[in-house]
């Protein structure tokens, strides 16, 4: 019973807020009937609530895009997210010498490379045994990364500033102090600021050792100048602009067909949608120039090509489904007429503007004519 109620509650999150109490009452009542009166699969019954909730949300969702301002607001949010993602991926590397340092895993490390591995280790601090996230690395790790610190005699433990303040009370005489790290006694060599470590991962301390064993789980850090034979992987998607430009042209050629725009407001709305789509599409396509992940490159290719075409087709289709006067989505489609054997009688769909500006008559087949907007002010009263 509890799990069935939990499933209905979870599905209810998808239901629009104003409909949720009645929706939940209906499903809960049916569930109680099933459990008390009928011997039926209540679990399968409850899972159907998700489809019902999604259907209700979609009906509500259509009203979200009804007004042009809501449509542009959603597109603006999508553009903001896209530009933020692109800006982060295109920003400079946080490494001190971003053009000279490369990292990765390799079975043939170049000469002068440093190695490191991050683990959780038990350290006995003045506050008691504490788990620290420690980077174990070779003695030259900080030299390769360009972090100026003298570690002292190996094995040396370098603490982060936040750990020094939090677990060691900012002891100014901490250098040379011996700690137990996973049963191994090491001396503290230095304290460095938290943001000196620019590689991925949150690190509490670094343990540098001359005898650090490199294996398949070890990361390699090297300076490109010391390893002339080492090259970063070639980018698969160099410049997305040619593919993106071709997609834009195709999208305009296909989508603008039979799209009639009326007035400055209509043109402005269409122009804003297209600009937002182009910005978002190019931003996502740019990810392929900076990321080496296969999935990201596939996604960037899709954004530069088919994604842009589909988005432009949606923009033009959305324009066709709106009232040319108030730009609200048309509603209440009604089927008119019937297909005739001679294909001469008109039949199709008639949609109405929710504010009563007019009717859009769309023929079912092309040879019956083109789409026609009938303003209610122009209709004759019979």
């Amino acid at each position: 019973m509890i799990i069935h109620g939990a499933i209905l509650k979870t599905a209810g999150i998808l239901v629009p807020a104003e409909e949720r109490p009645e929706w939940f009452a209906e499903w809960h009542a049916e569930l109680c009937y099933i459990q008390r009166v009928r011997d039926a699969n209540a679990l399968a019954f409850c899972f159907g609530a998700f489809k019902d909730a999604v259907w209700l949300r979609r009906q509500d969702g259509i009203r979200w895009l009804e007004s042009p301002s809501q449509c542009l607001a959603l597109l603006a949010i999508a553009v903001a997210v896209s530009l933020a993602a692109a800006a982060q991926s295109l920003s400079w590397s946080p490494f001190r010498d971003s053009r000279g340092v490369i990292t990765g895993r390799t079975t043939r490390p170049p000469a002068g490379a440093a190695f490191y591995r991050q683990t959780l280790d038990l350290v006995r601090t003045p506050r008691g045994p504490t788990l620290f996230s420690i980077v174990h690395g070779t003695r030259n790790l900080f030299d390769v990364l360009g972090i100026p610190v003298r570690a002292g005699k190996a094995p040396a433990l370098i603490l982060s500033r936040s750990v020094w303040l939090g677990d060691f009370s900012g002891d100014r005489h901490i250098a040379g102090r011996v700690l137990d790290v996973n049963g191994r006694r090491v001396s503290i060599g230095a304290v460095i600021p938290d943001d000196e470590w620019a590689l991925p991962g949150i690190v509490d301390a670094w343990l540098l050792d001359d005898d650090f064993p490199a294996d398949s789980n070890t990361f390699v850090v090297a300076r490109r100048s010391q390893s002339p034979g080492l090259r970063p992987p070639a980018r698969r998607l160099r410049d997305p602009f040619p593919a993106f430009a071709m997609s834009v042209v195709l999208g305009f050629l296909i989508g603008s067909k039979r799209t009639a725009v009326k007035g400055a407001r209509g043109w402005g709305f269409l122009f804003a949608k297209v600009v937002f789509i182009l910005l978002a599409g190019y931003a996502w396509a740019s990810l392929g120039t900076t990321c080496e992940s296969e999935l990201t490159i596939v996604f960037a290719f899709f954004s530069a090509g088919p994604g842009t075409i589909l988005a432009l087709l949606w923009a033009f289709g959305d324009q066709r489904r709106r009232c040319p006067d108030c730009l609200r989505l048309l509603s209440s489609p009604v089927t008119l007429g019937k297909a005739s054997q001679t294909f001469l009688d008109w039949y199709g769909t008639e949609s109405a503007c929710p504010h009563g500006h007019g009717l859009l008559r769309e023929p079912a087949i092309a040879n019956l004519g083109s789409r026609r907007w009938v303003s209610l002010d122009d209709l004759c009263v019979r």
Binding site: A29, A40, F47, V334, T335
Partner: protein, 113 residues
């Protein structure tokens, strides 16, 4: 009348087979959602969205049963559905389009709501 077109041809609701079965079930007296599921064999994820669509198209109308009926069975009141006049007309048209529909879902004694 602002504009004229063939009213006889206009607005004839076209139902899918699933929606026709559900409409037939309600017309046959299976007025609760779970009853429709049982008699049509359709899952809840199909029946309930279809009921919403039929109600949106004014083919059925929903109501809550009397509290006394629910109290007698020690459970919360259930929502039930009835055909509107438009729903009855659409059902008749569907029965002509799907002749086996009436045989698949026979009428039963109406559940009192």
């Amino acid at each position: 009348m602002l504009h004229s077109y063939d009213l006889g041809m206009a607005g004839e609701a076209r139902l899918s087979h699933t929606a026709a079965m559900i409409l037939q079930g309600i017309g046959a007296g299976y007025i609760y959602g779970f009853s429709v599921m049982e008699i049509t064999g359709l899952p809840s994820g199909t029946v309930y969205p279809a009921l919403r669509r039929l109600e949106r198209d004014d083919l059925i109308r929903s109501s809550w049963e009397k509290q006394s009926i629910a109290d007698a069975e020690q459970r919360p009141p259930r929502k039930y559905y009835k055909l509107t006049s438009g729903g009855k007309a659409t059902l008749e048209a569907s029965q002509k389009r799907y002749p086996l529909l009436a045989r698949m879902i026979p009428a039963q004694e109406v559940e009192h709501a």
